[in-house]
C-alpha cells in the first residue's frame, strides 16, 4: 500500500503543471533546480485576506512578509495590489522601495542595524521596534540627521493571562508586555522624533488561545497609551496563519499512524535510517512528539484569521474582531507562507534511478535539500512526476530522494516518498506549492553547486508566458498588438 501525501494543487498551479513541454524546455534551458513563480496567484490570495477584513468590517493592512521568498516578481506584483510589505533587512527594504512600494505601505520588522534604521527613518516607513534600545537609537538618528518624525509600532511579548495559565514559547523578540510603560516613557520623551501608531506581537504557534491572550494584552497596552494621551490606532498580530499543504486529510492520518508503528518497529521503516521525526521508541512506547509542520491544516490562511477574530477574548469575553472594531482599531497582519499559497514550484531533474540490493529504490536529483527546504521546515508533501515520455513501468514505487551534495545527510527528505509511477533519468520532479519558505530560503553555493535560477510564469492573452524572475513587472509586453 503506497502511503501518498498528495499535495493540494489549485486550478492555476495545475494549469501550469499541465504545460509539461514548457516545463521541460525551461529546465533544459535554465538548469536544475529551477524555481517557478506564479506571481498572479498572489493577487487572489491578497483578495481572500481582504474579504476576511471586510466580513468583520475591519480596516487595516495586509503586510506580505518578504522573507518568505526573495523573488522580485512576487514583490512587484504585490506592489500593484493594495497590500503592504513587511521587510526584515536593509536589502529587503531597498527591494520593496524599488518595486514600487511607497513608504506608507512598508513595515520594517526584525533585528535592525544602523543602516537599516537610517533608511527606514529617511524614507519614512513604519518601524516595528523590537526593544526600548531600538526606539532610543532611532530617535537619535532622527535628531542627528534632522529627519521627520518616524511612525513606530512597539512589539510586545510575554503576555500573561488570568485563571488558566497559557504558556507560550519564549520569544527573542519584543518588549515584555509588563514593561510597556518603559516603552511609552521613551515615546513620550522623544515625541519630537517618534510617533507611536500601534502595538504588535507575533507568536510562533498555531494555537488560538495564546494569540487571544496576546491580542487582549495589546488592547490593554493601547488603553495605557490612551490613558497617557497617546493615540495609536492599530494592532499588528503578525503572521502564522499557515497553509494546508495536502489534498487529502485521510492520507495524513494514515501516514502519521504508519510512522508511529514504524518507530515502534511494528512495520518496515518509512524513513532513511529509521528517523522518527521527533518520535522515538522507549520500550514498547512512543515518546517525544511529531516534530513536523501540520501539513493537513483545513483551517489555515484567511480562514484561520477569521477563526481568530471570532474567538472570544479570555477576559472581556467578546469576539476579538468585535473588540477591535469597538475600539476603532485597525488590524494589521503579516502573512508570509499563507500569502504565497499556490504561488510557485521547484523543478528538479532526475539524474539517476537505481535499485539497491536491499530493495530500496534511489532517485538522485540535480538539486539539494537547501534548494527545496521541505525537510528543514518539516513539511511532508509528495513531488509530482513530470515524465518526458510515457512511463515504461506504470504503478507506484517507494523511493528515497538523494541530493547533489557530497554529504551523507543530503536527502531532499528523509522520508520514503511514494510516487504513482517510476521516474527515469531525464524526467522532472515538481515540488509544488513551495513558494513560501520552501524554495531557496536557505539555498547556498556549498560545493560550488549553483543556486537555482528563478522564472516568473504568468497568464497573458489567454496563454502561459514566462520570463526571468528579475525581468518580471506587472505590465506585460505583448508580442504583437491585437
Amino acid at each position: 500500500m503506497p502511503l501518498y501525501l498528495s499535495p493540494r494543487i489549485g486550478p492555476t498551479l495545475q494549469s501550469a503543471l499541465d504545460e509539461t513541454v514548457l516545463m521541460a524546455q525551461l529546465s533544459d534551458a535554465l538548469g536544475s533546480p529551477l524555481g517557478v513563480i506564479l506571481p498572479q496567484q498572489l493577487t487572489a490570495n491578497v483578495a481572500a485576506f481582504r474579504s476576511v477584513f471586510s466580513d468583520h468590517r475591519l480596516s487595516g493592512q495586509i503586510y506580505y512578509a518578504h522573507k518568505a521568498n526573495r523573488s522580485s516578481a512576487l514583490v512587484r506584483e504585490l506592489a500593484a495590489t493594495d497590500a503592504g510589505i513587511d521587510v526584515a533587512s536593509l536589502a529587503e527594504l531597498q527591494h520593496a522601495l524599488g518595486a514600487g512600494f511607497v513608504p506608507q505601505r512598508v513595515m520594517a520588522t526584525g533585528p535592525k542595524n544602523e543602516e537599516f534604521l537610517w533608511l527606514c527613518a529617511r524614507t519614512g516607513v513604519t518601524v516595528s521596534a523590537d526593544s526600548v534600545g531600538e526606539l532610543a537609537a532611532l530617535a537619535t538618528l532622527v535628531t542627528d540627521w534632522s529627519l521627520p518624525r518616524v511612525r513606530v509600532m512597539a512589539r510586545l511579548s510575554g503576555f500573561t493571562s488570568a485563571g488558566v495559565q497559557f504558556n507560550s514559547r519564549r520569544s527573542r523578540f519584543g518588549v515584555s508586555a509588563a514593561a510597556v510603560s518603559e516603552v511609552l516613557d521613551v515615546i513620550e520623551k522623544r515625541a519630537d522624533a517618534l510617533d507611536l501608531v500601534g502595538v504588535a506581537f507575533h507568536l510562533d504557534t498555531i494555537g488560538l488561545p495564546e494569540k487571544a491572550v496576546a491580542l487582549e494584552g495589546c488592547l490593554g497596552a493601547l488603553d495605557e497609551c490612551r490613558r497617557r494621551g497617546l493615540r495609536p490606532w492599530s494592532v499588528d498580530i503578525g503572521g502564522g496563519f499557515g497553509v494546508d499543504y495536502l489534498a487529502d486529510g485521510a492520507q495524513w492520518e494514515q501516514y502519521t499512524s504508519a510512522l508511529t508503528e514504524a518507530v515502534l518497529g511494528r512495520r518496515a521503516p518509512l524513513t532513511w535510517t529509521g528517523h522518527g521525526y521527533g518520535l522515538r521508541a522507549e520500550g514498547a512506547h512512543v515518546r517525544g512528539s511529531l516534530n513536523l509542520y501540520p501539513a493537513h491544516r483545513p483551517v489555515s490562511g484567511p480562514a484561520y484569521l477569521d477563526r481568530l477574530l471570532r474567538t472570544a477574548s479570555p477576559e472581556q469575553r467578546r469576539p476579538l474582531g468585535t473588540l477591535l472594531l469597538d475600539n476603532m482599531y485597525d488590524l494589521h497582519v503579516e502573512p508570509g507562507r499563507a500569502l504565497l499559497d499556490q504561488c510557485g514550484l521547484v523543478l528538479a531533474s532526475v539524474l539517476e534511478v537505481r535499485d539497491e540490493a536491499n530493495g530500496d529504490t534511489i532517485v538522485r536529483l540535480d538539486c539539494n535539500a537547501r534548494d527545496v527546504s521541505l525537510e528543514e521546515h518539516g513539511v511532508l508533501m509528495d513531488p509530482v512526476v513530470v515524465h518526458r515520455t510515457t512511463p515504461a513501468a506504470p504503478g507506484p514505487v517507494g523511493v528515497y530522494l538523494f541530493g547533489n551534495l557530497c554529504l551523507e545527510a543530503d536527502l531532499i527528505t528523509r522520508r520514503k516518498v511514494f510516487l504513482p509511477s517510476r521516474p527515469c533519468a531525464g524526467d522532472l520532479l515538481a515540488f509544488v506549492n513551495t513558494a513560501g519558505y520552501l524554495m531557496d530560503f536557505s539555498a547556498t553555493q556549498a560545493l560550488r553547486q549553483p543556486i537555482g535560477r528563478k522564472v516568473a510564469l504568468y497568464r497573458d492573452d489567454g496563454a502561459w508566458r514566462w520570463c526571468l524572475d528579475e525581468q518580471y513587472w506587472p505590465v506585460h509586453h505583448r508580442a504583437e498588438a491585437p
Binding site: 468590517r57 495559565q165 504557534t205 488592547l219 512512543v286 473588540l323 521546515h377
Partner: protein, 439 residues
C-alpha cells in the same frame, strides 16, 4: 452507610443490567459498571485516590503541590483530594477542551497550566516536546511536587485490579463475563479490570475502544496517542476498535434517555462500541453470554461539547424581539443621522445617546454624554420590551453603524417613534474629527 471521609465512598459501584429491549441483543446479557456513581463523579476517583494515598502524609508534611497531566476526571478527583488534605493542585494540560471541566477545576482552587501550541515556524533542532520539558521540570525541581504520573503509574492499574475488576466478578456471582469492553484513556482501568477478570476466566474477550483519529472524545485517546501511554500494552486487548464522536453521542443519548444512566461521552462510546461489537457475535450464539462495559462519568460536564456537536438537541422556542428577526428590508427603513447632524443633535441635548460597544472600548473613548449598554446586554433587555419611554428620542452608536441600524430597525418595529442610528458609527465620528472623551 456511615463514613468518616468522602474518599471512603469511592468504589463498590453497582453493576446494572441494560434492558434488552434497548440494546436488542438476544443471547447476551449486557451490564454497565456504574462508575459515574463515585463520589467525585467518575471512575478516576479510584486511580486518583490509589495513587495519591500512599504519598499524602509526606506531601502534607512538606506542603507539596499535587501535579498531574490531565484535562479531565483525574484532575478533578486529585483537586478534591488535594483540597481535603490542605494541598494545592496543579493541572498541566495540552489544551483543556471542555469548558465545564476547566471551570470546575478553577472552582476547586486548582491551577491550570496550558502547554504551548505547536510552532508555526518549525525548528527541527528542537526535539523536545512540551511534555518532555514538563517531566524535566518536575524532576529537576526535586522537592515541592507530588506527581501522580497517571499514564505510567502502576497504582493506577492496581486500583482496578483490586477494586473494579473483583467487584464485577462478585456481582456476577463469582464468574467473569465473557466480554469486557472499555474505552482506552490512561489504559489503567482496562488493563486492571482485564487482568482481574482473566484470573477467573482466561478466555474473557477484551475489547479496547479508541477514538477515531480526527475526532475528539473526552477521556479517550486515538490510536496513535495510546502508544504514548506507559500503561498501554496491546497484548491486553483481543481487539482494538475505533469509535467516532458521533458514536459516543449516540450511545450517550441512549443511556441518558432510555436507561436512567446520566452517562458522559466516554460511557456513551463504550455502550455504542459494545453493542456494535456484540451484535455480530450475538447472531451466532446458541447459549447465554455476559458482557460488561464501564460508564466512566456523568453527562453534566459535557453540555458545551454536546451543544457544539448536536445543536439541534438544544432547540428552544424563539424569544420575542430578537435581533435575528430583523430583515435587511427593515434595516434599510431604519432612520439614520450623519455625523454633522448628530453633533448638533447632541449639542442641543435632544435625546439619549446609547453606545453599544464593549465597556472597555467605551471607557477608553466615547462621545460625551453617551451612556454605554453593550449590544449583548441591550439585546437581552429588548426581549423584555422597550427599556425607555416612547417620548425619549434615542441615537444608537456602534463601531460602523451596522449593528446600530439593526437595533434602530428593531426598536422601530417595537413601536418606538424616534430612534436613529449614527451613520458610519463611531469610526466615522472619529474620522470626521468630532470630539471623543475619556473620563
Amino acid at each position: 452507610m456511615r463514613f468518616e471521609n468522602m474518599t471512603d465512598a469511592i468504589g463498590n459501584t453497582p453493576l446494572v443490567r441494560i434492558d434488552p429491549a434497548v440494546h436488542g441483543l438476544r443471547n447476551i446479557d449486557l451490564y454497565a459498571k456504574m462508575e459515574l456513581l463515585n463520589p467525585f463523579g467518575s471512575l478516576k476517583d479510584r486511580a486518583a485516590w490509589n495513587m495519591a494515598r500512599p504519598l499524602l502524609t509526606q506531601a502534607v508534611e512538606r506542603g507539596d503541590t499535587v501535579v498531574e497531566l490531565s484535562s479531565g476526571n483525574t484532575a478533578k478527583a486529585l483537586a478534591v483530594i488535594a483540597g481535603m488534605h490542605g494541598l494545592t493542585f496543579k493541572s498541566v494540560t495540552n489544551r483543556m477542551k471542555v469548558a465545564e471541566i476547566k471551570d470546575l477545576l478553577l472552582l476547586l482552587g486548582a491551577e491550570i497550566d496550558e502547554l504551548p501550541g505547536q510552532a508555526e515556524c518549525l525548528d527541527p533542532t528542537d526535539t523536545d516536546d512540551p511534555l518532555t520539558r514538563m517531566y524535566h521540570r518536575l524532576a529537576g525541581s526535586g522537592d515541592g511536587y507530588l506527581h501522580t504520573d497517571q499514564y505510567f503509574n502502576e497504582l493506577n492499574v492496581d486500583a482496578h485490579l483490586n477494586g473494579t475488576g473483583p467487584e464485577i466478578v462478585k456481582d456476577l456471582d463469582g464468574r467473569a463475563p465473557d466480554y469486557f469492553i472499555a474505552c482506552v484513556g490512561t489504559a489503567g482501568s482496562s488493563t486492571g479490570v482485564a487482568a482481574a477478570l482473566r484470573q477467573h476466566n482466561p478466555d474473557v474477550s477484551v475489547v479496547g475502544l479508541v477514538a477515531h483519529k480526527s475526532d475528539f472524545i473526552p477521556g479517550i485517546r486515538t490510536i496513535d496517542e495510546v502508544h504514548e501511554v506507559g500503561l498501554f500494552d496491546p497484548g491486553v486487548y483481543d481487539t482494538v476498535e475505533t469509535i467516532t464522536a458521533d458514536d459516543a453521542i449516540d450511545g450517550l443519548l441512549t443511556l441518558v434517555r432510555r436507561c436512567g444512566t446520566l452517562a458522559g461521552p466516554t460511557g456513551g462510546g463504550a455502550y455504542q462500541g459494545a453493542v456494535r461489537h456484540l451484535r455480530a457475535i450475538d447472531a451466532q450464539l446458541t447459549e447465554r453470554h455476559t458482557a460488561v462495559f464501564i460508564v466512566c462519568d456523568r453527562v453534566e460536564s459535557y453540555m458545551s461539547y454536546l451543544r457544539e456537536r448536536r445543536p439541534e438537541l438544544f432547540g428552544r422556542p424563539p424569544r420575542r424581539n430578537s435581533l435575528r428577526t430583523v430583515t435587511d428590508a427593515d434595516v434599510r427603513q431604519a432612520a439614520t443621522m450623519d455625523v454633522a447632524e448628530a453633533e448638533r443633535w447632541i449639542a442641543e441635548r435632544r435625546g439619549l445617546v446609547v453606545d453599544l460597544r464593549s465597556p472597555f472600548a467605551y471607557q477608553a473613548l466615547h462621545i460625551d454624554g453617551s451612556i454605554n449598554i453593550v449590544d449583548e446586554l441591550f439585546a437581552e433587555l429588548l426581549h423584555g420590551g422597550l427599556p425607555f419611554g416612547h417620548r425619549q428620542p434615542v441615537l444608537l452608536v456602534c463601531p460602523v453603524g451596522e449593528k446600530s441600524a439593526r437595533y434602530a430597525a428593531l426598536l422601530t418595529r417595537m413601536g418606538h417613534p424616534d430612534v436613529r442610528s449614527l451613520d458610519g458609527g463611531i469610526i466615522a465620528w472619529r474620522d470626521a474629527g468630532a470630539e471623543l472623551v475619556r473620563d
